[in-house]
């Protein structure tokens, strides 16, 4: 074998050994529905001020969002039952202005990738929300996975202050 061919062979092997692959997860490590708030009848996002969000029957009555101003939130779903309920309190804990979001779904074992791991996906069968403060709710995608796109839209009458 000519010396030039030997050198070329070694160079190719070196490139291969040195090459590296991307081992990052660019999505979520679990399936979480992203909920965003919009002005009614529009696609304009709005921020809801002084809102407290808690899961009904959550251990220790733990609070997910505590009196903050937010325009979107990830709501983790229960994997031992097929229903999860979330309470939206407007104006702090103890306020009578409360809406309840109810999600019903089927659980599907899912392998996202070697980088993101294994998780349950949730196939939504029913989405309902009380409308004391919120105007309406809409489903953007019925299969909740580890993607970063919005799953549920909640519409409010915008305050122009």
């Amino acid at each position: 074998m000519k010396p030039s061919m030997r050198i070329f062979s070694l160079a190719v092997v070196a490139v291969l050994v040195a090459s590296c692959s991307d081992n990052s997860c660019y999505e979520n490590n679990s399936s979480l529905p992203l909920v965003r708030f919009y002005a009614s009848g529009t696609t304009t996002m709005v921020a809801i001020s002084d809102v407290t969000i808690r899961g009904i029957d959550a251990p220790g009555d733990s609070v997910l969002v505590d009196g903050e101003t937010i325009d979107e939130v990830y709501l983790p779903l229960r994997a031992t039952v097929g229903t999860t309920q979330w309470e939206f309190c407007y104006g702090g804990v103890g306020s009578e202005l409360v809406d309840t979001l109810t999600l019903k779904y089927k659980l599907i074992p899912y392998f996202a990738s070697a980088e993101c791991g294994a998780m349950y996906n949730f196939e939504l069968t029913s989405v309902a929300m009380t409308t004391y403060v919120a105007d309406s709710v809409a489903v953007a995608k019925t299969t909740i996975d580890n993607g970063l796109d919005v799953a549920i839209r909640i519409f409010y009458t915008a305050n122009n202050e």
Partner: protein, 289 residues
């Protein structure tokens, strides 16, 4: 002859001679030739005397015949069926023994046509298992068959068929199954921990490859070769349980580079006839070089 007739004949001859001179002079002016092009190059050494005579006599096809003859003396033209090589790509199990999580092994057959075009068929088995650190699952790719068809182009077609340097393309397909086991999931907000399994998940994939490679003779009919391949998926099937991590014959779904290392056995398909004339001509060429 009467005097008048002599004078008349003399005038005609003078006139003809004058006209000829004028015509030649005119020709010289109508077709000027630059001095640098007006050089007669000697024929190549070894050109047959008979060919030179034919060319000087106006037979222009003699030159083309001479060019073909000289090319034939420089390198051998190989027949349609030059040889067939059967090989085994064995690098992946070696890499698996030192830590890689997956492997594909294949046997391949290469038909060498004119020592230039080389159709190839590859059939193999791929498998893998991984339990990544800091992750929550075990992925097991069951041993599954894959196949590839393609063609190489050998750039060393003028050389001995024992040495190939080639570019090639492949089309690959595999249908396979995999298991997802020991998947554990913890939801910190709801304080829930659970495990699940999903077994026998089916998938298939179709992909293309472009490659470059070398094959060199080592001993008798045996040779070693390698290829480096860039591949891309045309299509793969997805289930509700996810996307495959490993595709037999392709590698990790998100990967784009592959490497093979093969041991091959070559079966020649023609008998090389070397005549005394060819031997003499080859010796002459070697002595000139």
């Amino acid at each position: 002859m009467k005097p008048m007739k002599r004078i008349y004949l003399f005038i005609v001859l003078i006139a003809l001679a004058t006209l000829q001179c004028v015509a030649q002079d005119t020709l010289r002016h109508v077709t000027p030739v630059r001095p640098s092009t007006n050089v007669v190059k000697p024929p190549p050494r070894g050109t047959d005397e008979a060919l030179i005579r034919r060319y000087l006599n106006g037979d222009s096809a003699a030159l083309e015949e001479e060019r073909r003859d000289s090319l034939r003396r420089v390198y051998t033209r190989y027949p349609l069926l030059t040889d067939v090589a059967v090989g085994l790509n064995f690098i992946d199990p070696v890499l698996m023994a030192v830590g890689r999580d997956y492997a594909s092994v294949d046997v391949h057959a290469t038909l060498n046509m004119w020592n230039r075009l080389q159709p190839v068929l590859e059939i193999g088995v791929g498998w893998g298992k991984t339990t990544p650190e800091d992750m929550n699952f075990t992925y097991r790719a069951k041993p599954s068959i894959y196949g590839k068809v393609g063609i190489n182009y050998n750039f060393l077609f003028k050389s001995d068929p024992k040495y190939n340097a080639f570019l090639g393309v492949r089309l690959g397909y595999s249908s396979f199954k995999y298991d997802l086991t020991d998947a554990n999931y913890h939801n910190s907000y709801w304080d829930e921990t659970f495990t699940f399994d999903a077994r026998g998940i089916k998938s298939s994939a179709l992909w293309g490859e472009v490659l470059a490679g070398l094959r060199v003779h080592i001993w008798r009919e045996w040779s070693l070769g390698w290829t480096i391949r860039y591949h891309g998926l045309f299509n793969y099937s997805k289930s509700e349980n996810g996307k495959p991590w490993f595709i037999p014959g392709y590698g990790p779904r998100r990967g784009s580079l592959g490497f093979t290392f093969s041991l091959s056995y070559t079966i020649p398909l023609y008998k090389k006839h070397v005549t005394e004339v060819d031997k003499k001509n080859n010796n002459e060429i070697k002595s000139r070089l």
